[in-house]
């Protein structure tokens, strides 16, 4: 008896598996997506595997060799305090990438939850929830970020929540719109006619049909969060020292721009650029793949 049931389950899984390669193939088909993927992989290896191979401290200063250009001992030179720039770049990438992904996930989860309730319940609940979003969106996000950053001592967790606090707004609007569209689909009406509960409809009918859109939005959210954090750090309100991060490094480097300390500016700047480009390329690829599937 149990065997029979498992056969059915297995056949359902096979069906899902049939779908997946096609989707992945479509996703991976574009050369630009591949480029984005490789760039992001390279950055991940650089930040997370790099420090294991290049075992030089990012935090201990070399007091006797401050602000020197790239040489044999320091491949990317040192900053004004004698920090090894290459090590800092690697470790700085860790916090940037971690915060970027984590805040995007938090924003996506909360925004989806919020937007889903707004779209599914509708009526005055929807009106109130969406007016709150409108109000928050009317305030420039950099102002909110600066305020929260000053109000709370920024550590990595606070940073994640601060960045997520503005990022979820867009997600919630998107999800609400999608939920409202799908709520009026005929297959939702048939589900109601079959006596399927509203909660189950939300979970099994609406959510799976909007997850693609949310995923694409979340990808771009990662890039946004990394950029916002770099921006905050650049303004001196990022993660406190000694933890390095790319925005902070760029900000420090700017002070020495007129001493021709290019190695303090270009490496973190390039890293920020590459992470932006790679994530955006992946996001584009994901969107194209999902949109094709829905067609």
């Amino acid at each position: 008896m149990i065997q029979e049931a498992t056969v059915v389950e297995a056949s359902m899984l096979t069906a899902h598996r049939d779908e997946r390669p096609k989707f992945l193939k479509r996703f991976w088909r574009s050369g630009m997506t591949k480029l984005g993927g490789f760039l992001l992989l390279a950055l991940l290896l650089f930040s997370f595997v790099g420090p294991l191979l290049y075992r030089k401290s990012a935090i201990n200063p070399h007091i006797l060799s401050t602000d020197i250009g790239p040489n044999a001992q320091f491949p990317l030179g040192t900053d004004s305090l004698g920090h090894n720039v290459l090590s800092q770049l690697m470790v700085g990438g860790q916090s940037s990438i971690e915060v970027g992904f984590a805040s995007a996930i938090v924003a996506m989860l909360f925004g989806t939850f919020y937007g889903m309730i707004s779209g599914m319940v509708g009526g005055w609940v929807d009106t109130i929830l969406m007016r709150i979003v409108d109000i928050l969106l009317a305030i420039p996000s950099i102002f909110i970020l600066l305020f929260l950053d000053v109000a709370f001592q920024p550590n990595i967790l606070v940073m994640i929540l601060v960045l997520a606090s503005t990022a979820w707004l867009g997600v919630s609007r998107l999800v609400r719109g999608e939920a409202m569209t799908i709520k009026n689909q005929l297959y939702v009406e048939s589900a109601l006619a079959l006596g399927i509960g509203r909660f189950r409809i939300m979970l099994r009918y609406v959510l799976p049909n909007i997850i693609g859109t949310v995923l694409v939005a979340a990808t771009f959210q990662v890039a946004d969060a990394i950029l916002s954090m770099a921006g905050l750090s650049f303004l001196g309100l990022g993660l406190p020292p000694p933890t390095p991060n790319w925005g902070g490094m760029l900000s420090d480097g700017m002070n020495y721009m007129f001493q021709n300390s290019w190695w303090l500016i270009y490496p973190p700047g390039l890293c920020i650029l590459i992470v932006q480009v790679s994530i955006n390329l992946i996001g584009d690829g994901l969107r194209n793949a999902i949109e094709t599937r829905e067609r």
Binding site: M1, M12, Y187, L194, G195, R200, R204
Partner: protein, 325 residues
Amino acid sequence: MSNVLLDVQNIKKYFPVRGGFLKTVQGHVRAVDGVSLQVNEGETLGIVGESGCGKSTLGRSILRLIEPTDGKIIFEGNDIRKYSHAQMRAMRKKMQIVFQDPYASLNPRYSIMQTLTEPMYVHGLYNGKERAERVRALMQKVGLDPSYASRFPHEFSGGQRQRIGIARALVLNPKLMILDEPVAALDVSVQSQVINLLEDVQKDFNLTYLFVAYDLSVVKHISNRVLVMYLGKMAELATSDELFFNPLHPYSKALLSAVPVPNPEVRKERVILQGDIPSPANPPSGCVFHTRCPIAKEQCKKEVPEWREIQTGHFVACHYPGEGV
């Protein structure tokens, strides 16, 4: 006389029209305006009328997918409009609907197996093995290869999807099935297959049908009795044969004269209606049909015609039933 399964009494559905400053209610669209009908167990009642006459809204209101504004829906002796949300959900086992558009009525993320097992799971019917077994049997019944169970809706044609839709409606063993133009979106060649399938399963499952359609030849073929609707109101109700051979309402006559006859020798007299169907937000006074009626008289503009039984089982709402057009 067999048992009355569904007794709809004076059901109304008014949609508020909002507009102007502050979105105040400016008026109502009378989509369904006082329809009463009885459906006997095992019979098929056809509902016809041109698009916009409220026949789909009527079907959905009976299932409370759209909450009716007024009226009673007595199903198996109980007024289901008094049912709570939970009672209504349990009730849905007994009354099902098949929609017009088979492309939009299936969840694209569910395999056929999932689509068909879910209702049984939600209502706690059968165990896992029995559910899978039932799905296979039902797929066979509706003419689908059970080995397709793991496929997704986009892998099927329109006709196959409608078969899935029918199987899904059957899976809970309902008594009443509302067929909301179930073949209108299909190719003519597929239409007849699906109609035959519907007739087969009606016999096998002892189903009662409420068949909503605008295709009169299909309705004539499948229905025992036919209700003609115009602008949310009942125009005429009679047995299928009676209505087709002896229509009394001028609107029914006009509808019937539009049915093509597959015989070039027969010259039919056409009753061509002038103008469009009036807005249900602002229906005409008196008899709602008087603006387009070829035999309308002064009385029709002032008095709403009574719903009366002209012959046994033949009802009509017209001041001058059967008068020459």
